[in-house]
């Protein structure tokens, strides 16, 4: 550790070597950036290396978990009472809704039977704790404490009680990475629940805002419209709530509207999410799980989930108790979200009815 920088001549040769080294490393880094950006065949290397990095993510998740646990423990009696009352109210409300939905479900099943709609599997999900949250302006990701061991695969949709959260982009045996809707590189094809107008929602890098650019001025869309996944593109199952239009303003060219969308899912809160396993494998465990999770979800989402899975809701499944919310779903959405359900229903139905050709692609696509 020389305390003196040394004579200038010695430094000069060091300078040249240093500059050469700098150039070499810069070239290497730029090559890597280009390879990663263009080709994407670094992704394999990356997936392997991610395994090494996982312990770090876990450690980084600890403080958050600790804070959550402490705030849980510190909940005062009044808070708990209030929460309890609210939950009980919710439960009652949801039960009432369910009761109504069951009649609709029977109706729907009968009508679908008439239409000869194809049977689809039940809702199959994995409940996964969130291990780490990464909400950067340029990166909106989650790390889930569930991986390929639990059946999670790249491309599967991730939802919470409110609606769609994002999709799985990387999986290791123990963990999975979720690209959130709000990531600037994320886009979801959606449809307006009211009338089926198709749009694409983009992430903004903010966890409370999504964007719909380039809405034609003529399209029938207004503030307060609920957007649900349209299922086009085959990545997301149709029917999950994505968000609500919060504002519409003309863009710079004045030829289009730009919409701001409030996400339906709680992207920056919550510690557990559901991963939709698209495989229609009616495991006994999975059905039991369905029974436990569905009450936890609020009615609109529960209903919407079912829409996704059961675009062609199964006539047979209507008999079983857990599956009953599923067929109920398509009518449920207009019912719960637009009070004037009867006129809205045929409209909302229309895009869903168009779906089945696209829908079979959905389960296979994520496995690529």
């Amino acid at each position: 550790m020389p305390s003196y920088a040394g004579p200038p001549t010695a430094a000069r040769t060091g300078d040249v070597a240093g500059t050469l080294k700098l150039l070499a490393y810069l070239a290497l880094a730029v090559t890597l950036i280009m390879l990663d950006h263009r080709g994407g065949w670094l992704s394999q290397v990356r997936r392997q290396a991610t395994l090494l990095v996982q312990p770090l993510w876990m450690v980084a998740g600890w403080p958050g978990q600790m804070v959550e646990r402490i705030s849980d423990d510190a909940g005062t009696l009044t808070q708990l009472t209030a929460e309890n009352r609210r939950l009980r109210n919710d439960l009652m409300l949801n039960q009432a809704r369910m009761a109504r939905l069951q009649t609709l479900a029977a109706d729907n099943a009968r009508l679908r039977g008439l239409l000869d709609a194809a049977e689809r599997g039940k809702l199959d999900v994995v409940l996964s704790p969130v291990l780490d949250i990464d909400l950067d302006p340029t990166r909106q990701r989650l790390v889930l404490d569930a991986g390929s061991r639990d059946g999670v695969q790249v491309g599967q949709s991730v939802i919470d009680a409110g609606g769609l959260l994002g999709q799985i982009i990387a999986v290791t045996p123990m963990y999975a990475n979720v690209l959130l809707l709000t990531d600037p590189s994320h886009a979801v094809p959606v449809a307006v629940a009211r009338n089926g107008v198709r749009l694409v929602v983009y992430g903004e890098g903010r966890s409370d805002l999504l964007r719909v650019p380039s809405v034609p001025l003529s399209s029938d869309i207004k503030v307060g419209d609920v957007l649900v996944t349209s299922g086009l593109g085959g990545r997301f199952a149709p029917g999950f709530p994505v968000g609500t239009i919060a504002s519409l303003r003309p863009d710079d060219s004045r030829a289009f509207l730009i919409g701001e969308v409030t996400p339906a899912a709680q992207l920056d809160r919550g510690r557990e999410v559901l991963v939709l396993l698209n495989q229609p494998s009616p495991l006994p465990g999975a059905t039991a799980f369905n029974a436990t999770t569905s009450p936890a979800m609020s009615a609109p989402s529960g209903a919407a989930i079912a829409v996704g899975q059961g675009t062609a809701a199964l006539p047979g499944a209507a008999a079983t108790t857990q599956a009953s919310p599923a067929p109920a779903t398509t009518p449920a959405k207009p019912g719960t979200q637009a009070p004037a359900s009867t006129p809205a229903k045929p409209d909302a139905q229309a895009p869903a009815a168009n779906k089945p050709p696209a829908q079979p692609a959905a389960p296979t696509e994520p496995r690529r």
Binding site: L22, D36, H37
Partner: protein, 161 residues
């Protein structure tokens, strides 16, 4: 180099820097998150140039890219640039008073922001929001703390600057 120094301080400080960069922060503080990895690396480039050079900076940058999941090579490039500048001015930096040193580090972090923005524009990645330009300020304010802290860990005593 006569004193025996704890060898674990260097790797540990880097790992801690990686984790600090990962810790979830409330959204309001998010843009202020300093570039911990650069700060810690800067310390080691200044204080232990025999072991920490451009190569190590490059490798640490790759590790950072893996952990944070950005463009592979981006942080490597940023840290190499930073390490190079630090090496150039190391002799002067070491004898700066702490406040001046912090200013210099702030300047380096600002430069790092510019490099980042340039990379993002060059590859067409989304650019950082305006508020992220405050992060160098946070880094600058943290530098004296970090420097004194790491120094005391490395030397086993307070240097008393």
């Amino acid at each position: 180099m006569t004193r025996v120094r704890p060898q674990w301080v260097l790797p540990l400080s880097l790992v801690v820097a990686l984790i600090l960069g990962l810790l979830p922060l409330p959204p309001t503080l998010q843009p202020l998150r300093p570039y911990w990895l650069a700060l810690v690396l800067a310390y080691w480039v200044i204080e232990d140039p025999d072991h920490i050079g451009l190569g190590v900076a490059f490798l640490i940058g790759l590790a950072g890219d893996l952990v944070y999941g950005g463009l592979f090579g981006e942080q490597a490039l940023r840290l190499v640039v930073m390490a190079y500048i630090l090496q150039r001015f190391r002799a002067r930096l070491r004898f700066f008073p702490m406040s001046q040193q912090a200013l210099a580090i702030g300047g380096l972090l600002l430069n790092d922001r510019i490099v980042t923005a340039a990379i993002h524009i060059a590859v067409g990645e989304p650019t950082m929001p305006a508020s992220s330009w405050l992060a160098p300020l946070a880094g600058m304010l943290l530098w004296p703390l970090l420097f004194v802290g790491l120094d005391s860990l490395r030397l086993g005593r307070w240097r008393g600057r």
